[in-house]
């Protein structure tokens, strides 16, 4: 689903955010990118979202080399990917419903038709009863769930999230991760940047650790452990 080949990102100042990074993520995987701030997590996600371009190397997303995605094609490209942000990036001048409907409206769907997709999406994050409220009246955790509903309302195959739990307390973080896990179980590929190692360890997903723009270690062996969940003291049923 995502493949990086020898990707380097150098900023105008000369410092390298990513240096010769290569890895790949299969369809249906749920992978965490970890590392200290400045390790290159955000840069990596920005390259995948085409907010930035690599200085050298290839980024291939769903079989599509992002090098061949021109400026004009970027909007259509981004619509294939669900994105969740640490600061939610909601529009505060309109209710929750409109926020979640926005990607569908952008894709050219009628308002009523969009409604048929918005409600299930809100239901999945448990916020159906708040569809008419404005985002600022919601708690941080709820706002983040609105952001998630917006990211998944178009049913993307790939969802990327940059520190989705960065501003949330542990309980809310776990709640958000549970929601992610549910999407993963129905086939969505997820790439989540996070520095919350303890939480990731409890989930036991594969981890891509970055250190100064390079791969530190990939904990492939954690995958099996993660899916059995018992090791982390979590009942699979608890995810639902």
């Amino acid at each position: 689903m995502i493949r990086l080949e020898d990707v380097t990102k150098r900023f105008p100042g000369g410092q390298e955010a990513l240096s010769g990074l290569s890895f790949s993520i299969d369809k249906g995987e749920m992978v965490f990118v970890t590392g200290h701030s400045g390790a290159g997590k955000s840069t990596l996600l920005r390259l995948i979202a085409l907010i930035d371009r690599p200085t050298s190397g290839q980024v291939i997303v769903d079989g599509q080399n992002t090098r061949r995605v021109t400026r004009r094609m970027i909007p259509a490209y981004r619509r294939q990917i669900g994105m969740v942000f640490q600061d939610h990036k909601l529009l505060y001048d309109r209710p929750v419903f409109d926020n979640v409907a926005l990607p569908l409206i952008i894709a050219g769907m009628g308002y009523r038709e969009a409604g048929r997709r918005v409600r299930p999406a809100l239901e999945q994050v448990g916020l159906l009863h708040k569809e008419k409220q404005r985002p600022e009246t919601l708690s941080a955790g709820e706002q983040q769930r609105v952001g998630i509903a917006r990211a998944i309302v178009t049913r993307p195959k790939l969802l990327i999230a940059d520190e989705p739990t960065g501003n949330l307390d542990p309980d809310l973080s776990l709640e958000v991760m549970r929601i992610f896990r549910r999407f993963n179980e129905v086939g969505v590929t997820l790439l989540i940047a996070s520095h919350d190692i303890s939480l990731i360890d409890r989930l036991g997903c594969r981890r891509i650790a970055l250190e100064e723009g390079r791969l530190a270690r990939t904990t492939d062996d954690d995958i099996d452990a993660g899916y059995s969940s018992s090791e982390a003291g979590l009942d699979p049923e608890a995810w639902r």
């Binding site: 907010i51 259509a76 490209y77 981004r78 294939q80 994105m83 952008i106 049913r155 549910r182 129905v186």
Partner: protein, 321 residues
Amino acid sequence: MAMTRHSDAVAPVRSSGPMTTWLTRHISTAIGSAGRLFRQPFASLMIILVIAVTLAIPAAANLLIKNALSISSGWDNALDFSIYLHRGISESDALDLAQLIAQRADVAAVDFVSAGDALEQFKQQSGFGEALDHLSENPLPHTLIVRPGPSNSVQSMILLQEELGNLPEADIVQVDTEWVQRFHAILDIVRQAIVIGAALLGVAIIVIIGNTIRLDIQNRHEEIEVTKLIGASNAFVRRPFLWSGFWYGLFGSLLALALVQYGLFLLEQPIARLAGLYQSSITVLTLTGGEILSLLGIGVALGLIGSWFAATRHMRRIEPR
């Protein structure tokens, strides 16, 4: 469960027919943009008022010229000029000449006033009556009064007068109505000045609307960034701003229309009084349907041009960071 609902369509977003989508999308954007205008009624009204006044000035000036032309074209006889013939020419020769001139395409009619008739008229009007009886012979020449055709321009009129003045029979051509020609020449100049002024004001409207839209874009910088981040194209982001420009132009020109009509209403009484003083009836020409439509069309076009420039220019700069 939620799960099955999610899995049943991992398919990409499908939309209904492209045409209906396009239409409904535009309608909802148009309504949304209008709503935005109404949510800031004071600011919107100020801009619309500026546009309206800017449009109303050339429209009113144009209307003024139109009326001036219409009234002055009623002074057909004011364009008449007289040709005094040489003394030696007989009455029958003079009549032949009058017929000849009347056949010209640029002449509407020729009146022949014989020397005798002229003297008779002079006797009655001058008050010298009796005194003139003592003249041994009639000192007045035969006169042709030429009425130029309606299609004549100021230039062709001068040409006509010169040509007829060069006839061997003609002694003097007297144009006692040169001021009408000057008046028409002045109207021509004013009319062209209005066209130039209107073009400049049109540029001003484009700038006003463009600047308004620019501020609007700046205020909604974050929103634009977020929508672009989740896959909105430049066209999608630009659309509401184009509609704002459309509404500014439309409301501005509607208000301009109202201002012009109100001005006409205010002038109705004084004009009627003036007409009464001259014992004539002046019908004031109002804006025709075509003129109203073109005023609205120009307003809308300027609004769209202004917002398109601003939106296209500033939209590209706003990219997700």
